[in-house]
């Protein structure tokens, strides 16, 4: 794989940092976030951040794994450099959501789920997925 940081991607990473309030270059890849993450991600948090550090914005943004983050905040709590991978992941999700690219469809979602779930599951789920 050819690593070729594109100027356009650098700009998008900079914008992501401004939107989330995070500094991606602070990460020194210790891997504590990945070790503590319960989400069984194909592309775990430290790998997502590494792609961003290498300027591979679309690899991070289009990873399916970002949708498995459950905001448990274990990564943010344990990071020795006070980086919040959870915030970075939410920033990436927001790029999709604000571009009308949601992961849940109100019309086709399971009606039984809506009827029997505690409201907080529906409300927080909608915030993260629509």
């Amino acid at each position: 794989m050819l690593i070729n940081p594109v100027e356009k991607d650098q700009k998008r990473i900079r914008e992501l940092e401004l939107a989330t309030g995070e500094t991606i270059s602070d990460c020194y890849q210790c891997g504590k976030c990945t070790a503590g993450c319960p989400a069984s991600m194909d592309m775990p948090p430290s790998v997502i951040i590494q792609y961003l550090k290498l300027g591979q914005f679309d690899m991070a943004k289009n990873a399916e794994s970002i949708w498995s983050c459950m905001a448990c905040l274990t990564c943010s709590e344990r990071c020795p450099k006070n980086v919040s991978p959870a915030a970075i992941i939410e920033g990436l999700k927001n790029l999709h959501l604000r571009d009308m690219d949601p992961r849940v469809n109100l019309e086709t979602m399971d009606r039984d789920f809506l009827a029997r779930s505690p409201q907080m599951a529906i409300i927080s789920g909608f915030r993260k997925f629509i």
Binding site: I122, R127, I130
Partner: protein, 262 residues
């Protein structure tokens, strides 16, 4: 442009508008064009004054049907304002672009016979209510001063009756739905909730049901037949000489002398 007489008095071309003789004229913008209109007119009357004819977005003209929901701005002010065209008086610099109605979302089927709890019914018909971010834009938009965000909050927490009651003044103008960032059609959710509340949550009136049963059983048929046979004079006499419960009688205390018809 407003038609004028030779000495520059504006000619009324609209519907039933008679401005006072000393009415001042102000400039407003309608659909991108400037017009001079008497300052005492409502938006609806002002638009008709200059020659527009409303075939949509106009109804009772009395502030209660919700057909004429209007967005407008005042030149120099960044804020978007709302009101009913039939109730809102024009202001200098008002900028108008009438929309006949706003496309809203309405769930297709309402099952009033279901055993599903009312709150689950609303949740499954209108899941978008759970997208409400509590921004309150709807409440600030409502021309009837309803706390729209408030009644949606009631529905979210399962209080269908409370939300139904709080939405009672709604005239279905649709302005709230037009501005909602979560794309909720609040007024349709509220209407559905009110229908569910009446059909399923309000206690049934037993005395009404009992009376209806009496009527269905034919109890009043002989009496009606008797009345139909009577002459006009006899009917008049019967009416004038009828027994009437005194206005301030305590409930259950007064009984007529002739109790055969009870």
């Amino acid at each position: 442009m407003t038609k004028c007489t030779e000495d520059n008095k504006p000619i009324m071309v609209g519907d039933r508008t008679i401005p006072p003789p000393d009415a001042r004229y102000i400039t407003i913008s309608i659909m991108g064009q400037p017009y001079e209109v008497p300052e005492t007119l409502t938006i609806l009357k002002a638009m008709e004054f200059v020659g527009y004819q409303f075939t949509r977005g106009c109804g009772c003209r009395g502030g209660i049907c919700g057909a004429c929901g209007t967005f407008y701005r005042i030149e120099g002010d960044h804020a978007l304002q709302t009101g009913l065209a039939c109730q809102t008086v024009v202001e200098p610099g008002m900028i108008l672009a009438q929309v006949p109605f706003f496309p809203s979302n309405r769930a297709s089927e309402l099952d009033l016979e279901t055993k599903m709890p009312a709150d689950q019914q609303i949740a499954t018909m209108y899941p978008e209510i759970f997208r409400c971010v509590g921004c309150g834009t709807c409440t600030r938009t409502c021309p009837m001063d309803i706390d729209v965000m408030g009644y949606i909050a009631h529905f979210k927490r399962g209080d269908i009756m409370g939300g139904a009651e709080n939405s009672f003044d709604c005239i279905m103008c649709g302005l709230c739905a037009a501005r909602c960032p979560a794309n909720i059609s609040q007024f349709n959710v509220a209407m559905t909730a009110r229908r569910i509340a009446s059909a399923r949550l309000t206690p049934k009136s037993e005395c009404t049901a009992a009376r209806a049963e009496q009527v269905r059983s034919g109890r009043y048929e002989p009496m009606l037949a008797e009345l139909c046979e009577m002459s006009k004079e006899d009917l008049k006499t019967l009416y004038v000489e009828r027994e009437r419960e005194p206005d301030l009688a305590k409930p259950g205390e007064w009984m007529p002398e002739d109790q055969t018809k009870l």
